[in-house]
Subunit: 185 residues, 3 copies
Amino acid sequence: MRVARLDIVGVVTLGMITALGGGILRDVLLGALPPATFSDWRYLLVATAGGLLAFALSRQLERVSLSITVFDALGLGLFAVTGATRALDLGAGAGQAVLLGGITAVGGGTLRDVLVRRIPSVLSSELYAVPALLGALVVVVADRLGSTAITWSLAGAALAFTVRMLGVGFRLNAPSPPGRRGTGD
Amino acid sequence: MRVARLDIVGVVTLGMITALGGGILRDVLLGALPPATFSDWRYLLVATAGGLLAFALSRQLERVSLSITVFDALGLGLFAVTGATRALDLGAGAGQAVLLGGITAVGGGTLRDVLVRRIPSVLSSELYAVPALLGALVVVVADRLGSTAITWSLAGAALAFTVRMLGVGFRLNAPSPPGRRGTGD
Amino acid sequence: MRVARLDIVGVVTLGMITALGGGILRDVLLGALPPATFSDWRYLLVATAGGLLAFALSRQLERVSLSITVFDALGLGLFAVTGATRALDLGAGAGQAVLLGGITAVGGGTLRDVLVRRIPSVLSSELYAVPALLGALVVVVADRLGSTAITWSLAGAALAFTVRMLGVGFRLNAPSPPGRRGTGD
Protein backbone atom coordinates (compact mmCIF):
# COMPACT_ATOMS: atom_id res chain seq x y z
CA MET A 1 0.00 0.00 0.00
CA ARG A 2 1.69 3.13 -1.24
CA VAL A 3 1.33 6.04 1.14
CA ALA A 4 0.02 9.21 -0.45
CA ARG A 5 2.89 11.58 -1.16
CA LEU A 6 1.43 15.03 -0.85
CA ASP A 7 2.76 18.34 -2.11
CA ILE A 8 1.89 21.68 -0.51
CA VAL A 9 -1.42 21.92 -2.39
CA GLY A 10 -2.36 18.46 -1.22
CA VAL A 11 -1.46 19.22 2.40
CA VAL A 12 -3.45 22.49 2.44
CA THR A 13 -6.39 20.86 0.62
CA LEU A 14 -6.48 18.00 3.11
CA GLY A 15 -6.15 20.44 6.00
CA MET A 16 -9.10 22.50 4.81
CA ILE A 17 -11.23 19.41 4.21
CA THR A 18 -10.39 18.08 7.67
CA ALA A 19 -11.13 21.38 9.36
CA LEU A 20 -14.23 22.41 7.40
CA GLY A 21 -15.67 19.11 6.16
CA GLY A 22 -17.59 18.21 9.31
CA GLY A 23 -19.25 21.61 9.53
CA ILE A 24 -20.15 21.50 5.84
CA LEU A 25 -21.76 18.05 6.19
CA ARG A 26 -23.70 19.34 9.23
CA ASP A 27 -24.97 22.42 7.37
CA VAL A 28 -25.94 20.37 4.30
CA LEU A 29 -27.94 18.00 6.53
CA LEU A 30 -29.57 20.99 8.25
CA GLY A 31 -30.31 22.67 4.91
CA ALA A 32 -28.41 25.75 6.15
CA LEU A 33 -26.75 26.56 2.82
CA PRO A 34 -24.34 27.98 1.92
CA PRO A 35 -22.51 26.37 4.87
CA ALA A 36 -21.32 28.79 7.55
CA THR A 37 -17.79 27.46 7.32
CA PHE A 38 -17.76 28.20 3.62
CA SER A 39 -19.57 31.53 3.35
CA ASP A 40 -17.45 33.13 6.08
CA TRP A 41 -14.03 33.97 4.72
CA ARG A 42 -12.43 33.81 8.18
CA TYR A 43 -13.03 30.07 8.47
CA LEU A 44 -11.31 29.52 5.13
CA LEU A 45 -8.40 31.72 6.20
CA VAL A 46 -7.86 29.87 9.48
CA ALA A 47 -8.11 26.47 7.78
CA THR A 48 -5.65 27.52 5.05
CA ALA A 49 -3.23 28.94 7.61
CA GLY A 50 -3.48 25.72 9.60
CA GLY A 51 -2.70 23.68 6.49
CA LEU A 52 0.31 25.85 5.63
CA LEU A 53 1.57 25.58 9.20
CA ALA A 54 1.23 21.80 9.11
CA PHE A 55 3.16 21.82 5.82
CA ALA A 56 5.97 23.94 7.23
CA LEU A 57 6.23 21.87 10.40
CA SER A 58 5.66 18.46 8.85
CA ARG A 59 9.10 17.15 9.74
CA GLN A 60 8.69 18.20 13.34
CA LEU A 61 5.10 16.97 13.47
CA GLU A 62 6.14 13.43 12.65
CA ARG A 63 8.12 13.32 15.88
CA VAL A 64 5.34 14.59 18.10
CA SER A 65 2.45 12.34 17.28
CA LEU A 66 1.34 12.58 20.90
CA SER A 67 0.64 16.31 20.58
CA ILE A 68 -1.24 15.67 17.33
CA THR A 69 -3.42 13.21 19.20
CA VAL A 70 -4.04 15.80 21.91
CA PHE A 71 -4.95 18.54 19.42
CA ASP A 72 -7.17 16.12 17.53
CA ALA A 73 -9.00 15.20 20.73
CA LEU A 74 -9.43 18.90 21.58
CA GLY A 75 -10.88 19.54 18.12
CA LEU A 76 -13.15 16.53 18.49
CA GLY A 77 -14.66 17.96 21.65
CA LEU A 78 -14.98 21.54 20.38
CA PHE A 79 -16.55 20.48 17.07
CA ALA A 80 -18.99 18.16 18.86
CA VAL A 81 -20.39 20.90 21.11
CA THR A 82 -20.40 23.64 18.45
CA GLY A 83 -22.08 21.25 15.99
CA ALA A 84 -24.78 20.33 18.50
CA THR A 85 -25.30 23.98 19.45
CA ARG A 86 -25.72 25.07 15.85
CA ALA A 87 -28.15 22.22 15.20
CA LEU A 88 -30.25 23.29 18.19
CA ASP A 89 -30.12 26.93 17.04
CA LEU A 90 -31.50 25.88 13.67
CA GLY A 91 -34.37 23.98 15.27
CA ALA A 92 -33.17 20.39 15.07
CA GLY A 93 -34.63 17.85 17.50
CA ALA A 94 -32.61 16.51 20.45
CA GLY A 95 -31.63 13.25 18.76
CA GLN A 96 -30.65 15.00 15.55
CA ALA A 97 -28.61 17.57 17.48
CA VAL A 98 -26.58 14.86 19.23
CA LEU A 99 -26.02 13.07 15.93
CA LEU A 100 -25.08 16.29 14.14
CA GLY A 101 -22.62 17.11 16.91
CA GLY A 102 -21.01 13.75 16.29
CA ILE A 103 -21.03 14.25 12.50
CA THR A 104 -19.45 17.70 12.85
CA ALA A 105 -16.71 16.22 15.01
CA VAL A 106 -15.84 13.15 12.95
CA GLY A 107 -16.94 14.24 9.44
CA GLY A 108 -13.85 16.19 8.41
CA GLY A 109 -11.44 13.48 9.50
CA THR A 110 -13.56 10.85 7.77
CA LEU A 111 -13.46 12.72 4.45
CA ARG A 112 -9.69 13.10 4.84
CA ASP A 113 -9.24 9.38 5.54
CA VAL A 114 -11.34 8.46 2.49
CA LEU A 115 -9.24 10.73 0.25
CA VAL A 116 -5.94 9.21 1.40
CA ARG A 117 -7.44 5.69 1.39
CA ARG A 118 -7.34 4.93 5.09
CA ILE A 119 -10.13 3.16 6.92
CA PRO A 120 -11.83 6.08 8.71
CA SER A 121 -11.10 6.27 12.45
CA VAL A 122 -14.81 6.47 13.14
CA LEU A 123 -15.15 2.87 11.94
CA SER A 124 -12.19 1.18 13.52
CA SER A 125 -10.28 3.26 16.01
CA GLU A 126 -10.20 3.57 19.76
CA LEU A 127 -13.22 5.42 21.06
CA TYR A 128 -13.72 8.21 18.54
CA ALA A 129 -17.42 8.64 17.74
CA VAL A 130 -18.49 7.79 21.29
CA PRO A 131 -16.73 10.75 23.00
CA ALA A 132 -18.07 13.10 20.31
CA LEU A 133 -21.62 11.90 20.87
CA LEU A 134 -21.19 12.19 24.66
CA GLY A 135 -19.93 15.76 24.35
CA ALA A 136 -22.86 16.70 22.14
CA LEU A 137 -25.24 14.96 24.54
CA VAL A 138 -24.14 17.22 27.41
CA VAL A 139 -25.02 20.34 25.40
CA VAL A 140 -28.37 18.94 24.24
CA VAL A 141 -29.43 17.79 27.72
CA ALA A 142 -28.48 21.17 29.18
CA ASP A 143 -30.45 22.90 26.44
CA ARG A 144 -33.50 20.76 27.12
CA LEU A 145 -33.18 21.60 30.82
CA GLY A 146 -33.26 25.27 29.88
CA SER A 147 -29.60 26.24 30.07
CA THR A 148 -27.52 27.40 27.15
CA ALA A 149 -24.67 28.58 29.35
CA ILE A 150 -21.17 28.31 27.89
CA THR A 151 -20.26 26.23 30.95
CA TRP A 152 -22.11 23.25 29.52
CA SER A 153 -20.35 23.58 26.19
CA LEU A 154 -17.00 23.57 27.98
CA ALA A 155 -18.09 20.62 30.11
CA GLY A 156 -19.19 18.71 27.01
CA ALA A 157 -15.95 19.43 25.19
CA ALA A 158 -13.94 18.44 28.26
CA LEU A 159 -15.89 15.19 28.59
CA ALA A 160 -15.32 14.32 24.94
CA PHE A 161 -11.63 15.17 25.24
CA THR A 162 -11.21 13.07 28.38
CA VAL A 163 -13.02 10.01 27.05
CA ARG A 164 -11.09 10.19 23.79
CA MET A 165 -7.72 10.46 25.58
CA LEU A 166 -8.67 7.55 27.87
CA GLY A 167 -9.61 5.57 24.76
CA VAL A 168 -6.25 6.27 23.17
CA GLY A 169 -4.28 5.78 26.38
CA PHE A 170 -5.82 2.43 27.26
CA ARG A 171 -6.45 1.36 23.65
CA LEU A 172 -10.10 1.01 24.46
CA ASN A 173 -12.49 -0.05 21.73
CA ALA A 174 -16.20 -0.40 21.66
CA PRO A 175 -17.16 -4.10 21.69
CA SER A 176 -16.37 -6.06 18.53
CA PRO A 177 -18.88 -8.39 16.91
CA PRO A 178 -19.00 -11.80 18.60
CA GLY A 179 -17.11 -14.55 16.81
CA ARG A 180 -14.58 -12.30 15.15
CA ARG A 181 -12.29 -11.72 18.07
CA GLY A 182 -10.23 -14.87 17.88
CA THR A 183 -8.05 -15.58 14.90
CA GLY A 184 -8.75 -19.30 14.96
CA ASP A 185 -12.51 -18.96 14.76
CA MET B 1 -5.38 -5.67 1.81
CA ARG B 2 -6.39 -5.57 5.42
CA VAL B 3 -10.10 -6.00 5.92
CA ALA B 4 -11.70 -3.36 8.08
CA ARG B 5 -12.18 -4.65 11.62
CA LEU B 6 -15.22 -2.87 12.93
CA ASP B 7 -16.40 -2.43 16.49
CA ILE B 8 -20.04 -1.88 17.44
CA VAL B 9 -19.88 1.86 16.68
CA GLY B 10 -18.44 1.12 13.26
CA VAL B 11 -21.09 -1.49 12.48
CA VAL B 12 -23.96 0.80 13.52
CA THR B 13 -22.42 3.78 11.70
CA LEU B 14 -22.01 1.76 8.52
CA GLY B 15 -25.54 0.40 8.87
CA MET B 16 -27.00 3.89 9.20
CA ILE B 17 -24.99 5.21 6.25
CA THR B 18 -26.07 2.25 4.12
CA ALA B 19 -29.73 2.63 5.06
CA LEU B 20 -29.99 6.42 4.98
CA GLY B 21 -27.24 7.50 2.58
CA GLY B 22 -29.16 6.98 -0.63
CA GLY B 23 -32.16 8.95 0.58
CA ILE B 24 -29.93 11.75 1.85
CA LEU B 25 -28.13 12.02 -1.52
CA ARG B 26 -31.54 12.11 -3.26
CA ASP B 27 -32.86 14.88 -1.01
CA VAL B 28 -29.66 16.93 -1.38
CA LEU B 29 -29.96 16.68 -5.18
CA LEU B 30 -33.63 17.66 -4.96
CA GLY B 31 -32.85 20.54 -2.60
CA ALA B 32 -35.34 19.05 -0.11
CA LEU B 33 -33.31 19.87 3.01
CA PRO B 34 -33.11 18.79 5.75
CA PRO B 35 -33.39 15.30 4.24
CA ALA B 36 -36.55 13.39 5.16
CA THR B 37 -34.49 10.44 6.36
CA PHE B 38 -32.61 12.72 8.72
CA SER B 39 -35.29 15.06 10.04
CA ASP B 40 -37.64 12.20 10.93
CA TRP B 41 -36.43 10.49 14.09
CA ARG B 42 -38.14 7.21 13.16
CA TYR B 43 -35.84 6.64 10.20
CA LEU B 44 -32.82 7.07 12.46
CA LEU B 45 -34.29 4.68 15.01
CA VAL B 46 -34.99 1.94 12.47
CA ALA B 47 -31.53 2.32 10.92
CA THR B 48 -29.84 2.21 14.34
CA ALA B 49 -31.86 -0.84 15.37
CA GLY B 50 -30.94 -2.54 12.12
CA GLY B 51 -27.26 -1.84 12.72
CA LEU B 52 -27.43 -3.20 16.28
CA LEU B 53 -29.24 -6.30 15.04
CA ALA B 54 -26.58 -6.85 12.38
CA PHE B 55 -23.93 -6.48 15.10
CA ALA B 56 -25.60 -9.01 17.40
CA LEU B 57 -26.13 -11.51 14.59
CA SER B 58 -22.85 -10.96 12.78
CA ARG B 59 -21.56 -14.49 13.39
CA GLN B 60 -24.77 -16.00 12.08
CA LEU B 61 -24.94 -13.54 9.18
CA GLU B 62 -21.62 -14.71 7.83
CA ARG B 63 -23.10 -18.15 7.26
CA VAL B 64 -26.19 -16.95 5.45
CA SER B 65 -24.84 -14.71 2.75
CA LEU B 66 -27.67 -15.86 0.49
CA SER B 67 -30.29 -14.25 2.73
CA ILE B 68 -28.22 -11.06 2.87
CA THR B 69 -28.27 -10.97 -0.92
CA VAL B 70 -32.04 -11.45 -0.89
CA PHE B 71 -32.61 -8.66 1.66
CA ASP B 72 -30.24 -6.41 -0.25
CA ALA B 73 -32.16 -7.01 -3.48
CA LEU B 74 -35.45 -6.31 -1.68
CA GLY B 75 -34.05 -3.04 -0.36
CA LEU B 76 -32.75 -2.15 -3.81
CA GLY B 77 -36.25 -2.46 -5.26
CA LEU B 78 -38.04 -0.64 -2.44
CA PHE B 79 -35.53 2.25 -2.37
CA ALA B 80 -35.72 2.59 -6.17
CA VAL B 81 -39.51 3.04 -6.24
CA THR B 82 -39.72 5.22 -3.13
CA GLY B 83 -36.88 7.38 -4.44
CA ALA B 84 -38.57 7.86 -7.80
CA THR B 85 -41.93 8.55 -6.14
CA ARG B 86 -40.47 11.21 -3.85
CA ALA B 87 -38.67 12.83 -6.79
CA LEU B 88 -41.95 13.01 -8.74
CA ASP B 89 -43.75 14.40 -5.68
CA LEU B 90 -41.17 17.19 -5.49
CA GLY B 91 -41.65 18.09 -9.14
CA ALA B 92 -38.63 16.41 -10.75
CA GLY B 93 -38.80 15.57 -14.47
CA ALA B 94 -39.22 12.00 -15.69
CA GLY B 95 -35.55 11.44 -16.47
CA GLN B 96 -34.41 12.92 -13.18
CA ALA B 97 -36.95 10.80 -11.26
CA VAL B 98 -35.64 7.58 -12.81
CA LEU B 99 -32.07 8.61 -12.05
CA LEU B 100 -32.94 9.66 -8.49
CA GLY B 101 -34.67 6.32 -7.93
CA GLY B 102 -31.44 4.64 -8.97
CA ILE B 103 -29.34 6.95 -6.77
CA THR B 104 -31.59 6.30 -3.76
CA ALA B 105 -31.21 2.56 -4.30
CA VAL B 106 -27.46 2.35 -4.82
CA GLY B 107 -26.24 5.49 -2.96
CA GLY B 108 -26.13 4.09 0.56
CA GLY B 109 -24.27 0.95 -0.43
CA THR B 110 -21.84 3.00 -2.52
CA LEU B 111 -20.99 5.26 0.43
CA ARG B 112 -20.49 2.16 2.60
CA ASP B 113 -18.18 0.56 0.05
CA VAL B 114 -16.10 3.75 -0.22
CA LEU B 115 -15.70 3.89 3.57
CA VAL B 116 -14.50 0.30 3.83
CA ARG B 117 -12.39 0.66 0.66
CA ARG B 118 -14.23 -1.73 -1.62
CA ILE B 119 -14.90 -0.98 -5.29
CA PRO B 120 -18.60 0.00 -5.18
CA SER B 121 -20.99 -2.67 -6.50
CA VAL B 122 -22.54 -0.10 -8.79
CA LEU B 123 -19.30 0.04 -10.75
CA SER B 124 -18.32 -3.59 -11.02
CA SER B 125 -20.92 -6.05 -9.81
CA GLU B 126 -23.58 -8.21 -11.43
CA LEU B 127 -26.54 -6.12 -12.52
CA TYR B 128 -27.02 -3.64 -9.69
CA ALA B 129 -27.79 -0.19 -11.06
CA VAL B 130 -29.80 -1.59 -14.00
CA PRO B 131 -32.54 -3.27 -11.89
CA ALA B 132 -32.82 -0.14 -9.74
CA LEU B 133 -33.29 2.07 -12.80
CA LEU B 134 -35.85 -0.40 -14.25
CA GLY B 135 -37.85 -0.39 -11.01
CA ALA B 136 -37.86 3.41 -10.93
CA LEU B 137 -38.83 3.50 -14.62
CA VAL B 138 -42.00 1.50 -13.93
CA VAL B 139 -43.15 4.07 -11.34
CA VAL B 140 -42.30 7.04 -13.56
CA VAL B 141 -44.03 5.61 -16.66
CA ALA B 142 -47.12 4.79 -14.60
CA ASP B 143 -47.09 8.32 -13.20
CA ARG B 144 -46.83 9.84 -16.66
CA LEU B 145 -49.76 7.65 -17.76
CA GLY B 146 -51.78 9.10 -14.90
CA SER B 147 -51.62 6.34 -12.30
CA THR B 148 -49.96 6.67 -8.93
CA ALA B 149 -51.48 3.42 -7.62
CA ILE B 150 -49.39 1.47 -5.12
CA THR B 151 -49.68 -1.49 -7.50
CA TRP B 152 -47.13 0.10 -9.82
CA SER B 153 -44.71 0.69 -6.97
CA LEU B 154 -44.97 -2.95 -5.99
CA ALA B 155 -44.56 -4.02 -9.61
CA GLY B 156 -41.48 -1.80 -9.96
CA ALA B 157 -39.93 -3.13 -6.77
CA ALA B 158 -40.69 -6.71 -7.82
CA LEU B 159 -39.12 -6.13 -11.24
CA ALA B 160 -35.97 -4.66 -9.69
CA PHE B 161 -35.78 -7.54 -7.20
CA THR B 162 -36.22 -10.19 -9.91
CA VAL B 163 -33.67 -8.69 -12.30
CA ARG B 164 -31.14 -8.29 -9.50
CA MET B 165 -31.60 -11.90 -8.32
CA LEU B 166 -31.28 -13.16 -11.90
CA GLY B 167 -28.10 -11.10 -12.23
CA VAL B 168 -26.66 -12.65 -9.07
CA GLY B 169 -27.87 -16.17 -9.89
CA PHE B 170 -26.48 -16.25 -13.41
CA ARG B 171 -23.54 -13.92 -12.70
CA LEU B 172 -24.78 -11.58 -15.39
CA ASN B 173 -22.90 -8.38 -16.06
CA ALA B 174 -23.58 -5.50 -18.34
CA PRO B 175 -21.26 -5.62 -21.37
CA SER B 176 -17.60 -4.87 -20.67
CA PRO B 177 -15.57 -2.50 -22.81
CA PRO B 178 -14.32 -4.16 -26.03
CA GLY B 179 -10.71 -5.32 -25.92
CA ARG B 180 -10.64 -5.88 -22.18
CA ARG B 181 -12.44 -9.19 -22.03
CA GLY B 182 -9.63 -11.58 -22.88
CA THR B 183 -6.54 -11.77 -20.76
CA GLY B 184 -4.27 -12.23 -23.76
CA ASP B 185 -5.60 -9.29 -25.68
CA MET C 1 -4.08 -3.92 -5.89
CA ARG C 2 -6.74 -5.13 -8.24
CA VAL C 3 -7.73 -2.57 -10.85
CA ALA C 4 -11.44 -1.92 -11.05
CA ARG C 5 -12.96 -3.87 -13.94
CA LEU C 6 -15.88 -1.81 -15.11
CA ASP C 7 -18.83 -2.84 -17.25
CA ILE C 8 -20.81 -0.38 -19.39
CA VAL C 9 -22.91 0.78 -16.44
CA GLY C 10 -19.78 1.45 -14.42
CA VAL C 11 -18.13 3.37 -17.25
CA VAL C 12 -21.18 5.56 -17.86
CA THR C 13 -21.71 6.08 -14.11
CA LEU C 14 -18.09 7.12 -13.64
CA GLY C 15 -18.30 9.38 -16.70
CA MET C 16 -21.39 11.15 -15.36
CA ILE C 17 -19.86 11.56 -11.89
CA THR C 18 -16.66 12.97 -13.40
CA ALA C 19 -18.52 15.38 -15.66
CA LEU C 20 -21.24 16.51 -13.25
CA GLY C 21 -19.71 15.97 -9.81
CA GLY C 22 -17.76 19.21 -9.64
CA GLY C 23 -20.75 21.33 -10.61
CA ILE C 24 -22.96 19.48 -8.11
CA LEU C 25 -20.49 20.06 -5.27
CA ARG C 26 -20.34 23.76 -6.26
CA ASP C 27 -24.11 24.15 -6.27
CA VAL C 28 -24.47 22.32 -2.93
CA LEU C 29 -21.90 24.68 -1.38
CA LEU C 30 -23.73 27.67 -2.89
CA GLY C 31 -27.10 26.37 -1.71
CA ALA C 32 -28.33 26.55 -5.33
CA LEU C 33 -30.38 23.37 -5.20
CA PRO C 34 -31.37 21.39 -7.16
CA PRO C 35 -27.97 21.65 -8.88
CA ALA C 36 -28.06 23.15 -12.38
CA THR C 37 -26.20 20.17 -13.79
CA PHE C 38 -28.84 17.88 -12.40
CA SER C 39 -32.08 19.76 -12.99
CA ASP C 40 -31.26 20.42 -16.64
CA TRP C 41 -31.79 17.26 -18.68
CA ARG C 42 -29.30 18.38 -21.36
CA TYR C 43 -26.35 18.14 -18.96
CA LEU C 44 -27.33 14.58 -18.10
CA LEU C 45 -27.69 13.72 -21.79
CA VAL C 46 -24.27 15.09 -22.73
CA ALA C 47 -22.62 13.36 -19.77
CA THR C 48 -24.30 10.03 -20.60
CA ALA C 49 -23.34 10.32 -24.28
CA GLY C 50 -19.76 11.08 -23.26
CA GLY C 51 -19.69 8.02 -21.04
CA LEU C 52 -21.07 5.79 -23.82
CA LEU C 53 -18.53 7.21 -26.27
CA ALA C 54 -15.70 6.51 -23.83
CA PHE C 55 -17.03 2.97 -23.45
CA ALA C 56 -17.17 2.37 -27.21
CA LEU C 57 -13.71 3.82 -27.76
CA SER C 58 -12.04 2.41 -24.67
CA ARG C 59 -9.61 0.23 -26.63
CA GLN C 60 -8.53 3.17 -28.75
CA LEU C 61 -8.44 5.52 -25.76
CA GLU C 62 -5.84 3.41 -24.03
CA ARG C 63 -3.44 4.13 -26.87
CA VAL C 64 -3.93 7.87 -26.88
CA SER C 65 -3.39 8.87 -23.30
CA LEU C 66 -1.85 12.12 -24.51
CA SER C 67 -5.14 13.29 -26.04
CA ILE C 68 -6.95 12.31 -22.82
CA THR C 69 -4.55 14.53 -20.91
CA VAL C 70 -5.25 17.37 -23.35
CA PHE C 71 -9.03 17.00 -23.08
CA ASP C 72 -8.77 16.76 -19.30
CA ALA C 73 -6.75 19.98 -19.18
CA LEU C 74 -9.29 21.71 -21.44
CA GLY C 75 -12.10 20.60 -19.15
CA LEU C 76 -10.14 21.75 -16.11
CA GLY C 77 -9.90 25.27 -17.55
CA LEU C 78 -13.50 25.48 -18.73
CA PHE C 79 -14.94 24.15 -15.46
CA ALA C 80 -12.76 26.54 -13.44
CA VAL C 81 -14.04 29.66 -15.22
CA THR C 82 -17.68 28.53 -15.45
CA GLY C 83 -17.61 27.55 -11.78
CA ALA C 84 -16.21 30.91 -10.73
CA THR C 85 -18.68 32.77 -12.96
CA ARG C 86 -21.66 30.92 -11.53
CA ALA C 87 -20.43 31.56 -7.99
CA LEU C 88 -20.15 35.29 -8.71
CA ASP C 89 -23.62 35.29 -10.32
CA LEU C 90 -25.03 33.78 -7.13
CA GLY C 91 -23.41 36.46 -4.97
CA ALA C 92 -20.38 34.62 -3.59
CA GLY C 93 -17.41 36.67 -2.39
CA ALA C 94 -14.20 36.89 -4.39
CA GLY C 95 -12.31 34.32 -2.32
CA GLN C 96 -15.22 31.89 -2.37
CA ALA C 97 -15.62 32.30 -6.14
CA VAL C 98 -11.97 31.41 -6.77
CA LEU C 99 -12.26 28.40 -4.47
CA LEU C 100 -15.55 27.30 -6.04
CA GLY C 101 -14.00 27.56 -9.50
CA GLY C 102 -11.27 25.23 -8.31
CA ILE C 103 -13.79 22.85 -6.69
CA THR C 104 -15.88 22.75 -9.87
CA ALA C 105 -12.77 21.91 -11.88
CA VAL C 106 -11.29 19.20 -9.66
CA GLY C 107 -14.40 17.90 -7.84
CA GLY C 108 -15.68 15.47 -10.44
CA GLY C 109 -12.30 13.86 -11.00
CA THR C 110 -11.76 13.63 -7.25
CA LEU C 111 -15.06 11.78 -6.73
CA ARG C 112 -14.14 9.43 -9.60
CA ASP C 113 -10.71 8.72 -8.09
CA VAL C 114 -12.24 7.97 -4.69
CA LEU C 115 -14.72 5.51 -6.24
CA VAL C 116 -12.01 3.58 -8.08
CA ARG C 117 -9.64 3.82 -5.10
CA ARG C 118 -6.95 6.04 -6.55
CA ILE C 119 -5.28 8.83 -4.62
CA PRO C 120 -7.03 11.90 -6.10
CA SER C 121 -4.90 13.90 -8.55
CA VAL C 122 -5.66 17.04 -6.57
CA LEU C 123 -3.59 15.65 -3.70
CA SER C 124 -0.59 14.20 -5.43
CA SER C 125 -0.34 14.98 -9.13
CA GLU C 126 1.55 17.50 -11.22
CA LEU C 127 0.01 20.95 -10.96
CA TYR C 128 -3.72 20.27 -10.98
CA ALA C 129 -5.49 22.46 -8.44
CA VAL C 130 -3.12 25.38 -9.02
CA PRO C 131 -4.03 25.97 -12.71
CA ALA C 132 -7.74 25.66 -11.86
CA LEU C 133 -7.42 28.29 -9.13
CA LEU C 134 -5.41 30.56 -11.47
CA GLY C 135 -8.05 30.30 -14.20
CA ALA C 136 -10.81 31.12 -11.72
CA LEU C 137 -8.73 34.01 -10.36
CA VAL C 138 -8.61 35.65 -13.79
CA VAL C 139 -12.41 35.68 -14.01
CA VAL C 140 -12.86 36.95 -10.46
CA VAL C 141 -10.28 39.75 -10.83
CA ALA C 142 -11.87 40.83 -14.12
CA ASP C 143 -15.28 40.82 -12.46
CA ARG C 144 -14.02 42.94 -9.57
CA LEU C 145 -12.53 45.37 -12.11
CA GLY C 146 -15.97 45.66 -13.69
CA SER C 147 -15.65 43.41 -16.73
CA THR C 148 -17.64 40.24 -17.27
CA ALA C 149 -16.58 39.95 -20.92
CA ILE C 150 -16.28 36.43 -22.32
CA THR C 151 -12.70 37.34 -23.24
CA TRP C 152 -11.64 37.03 -19.64
CA SER C 153 -13.28 33.62 -19.30
CA LEU C 154 -11.40 32.44 -22.37
CA ALA C 155 -8.17 33.94 -21.03
CA GLY C 156 -8.70 32.22 -17.67
CA ALA C 157 -9.42 28.86 -19.29
CA ALA C 158 -6.39 29.25 -21.56
CA LEU C 159 -4.17 30.11 -18.60
CA ALA C 160 -5.39 27.08 -16.64
CA PHE C 161 -4.91 24.84 -19.69
CA THR C 162 -1.39 26.15 -20.33
CA VAL C 163 -0.21 25.85 -16.73
CA ARG C 164 -1.65 22.34 -16.45
CA MET C 165 0.03 21.19 -19.68
CA LEU C 166 3.34 22.71 -18.55
CA GLY C 167 2.92 20.86 -15.25
CA VAL C 168 2.37 17.57 -17.05
CA GLY C 169 5.08 18.19 -19.66
CA PHE C 170 7.78 19.09 -17.18
CA ARG C 171 6.45 16.89 -14.34
CA LEU C 172 6.21 19.95 -12.15
CA ASN C 173 4.89 19.57 -8.65
CA ALA C 174 4.14 22.07 -5.97
CA PRO C 175 6.79 21.93 -3.23
CA SER C 176 6.76 18.82 -1.05
CA PRO C 177 7.01 18.96 2.72
CA PRO C 178 10.59 19.39 3.94
CA GLY C 179 12.23 16.20 5.18
CA ARG C 180 10.20 13.85 3.03
CA ARG C 181 11.99 14.33 -0.24
CA GLY C 182 14.94 12.02 0.26
CA THR C 183 14.41 8.32 0.71
CA GLY C 184 17.16 8.03 3.27
CA ASP C 185 15.80 10.65 5.62
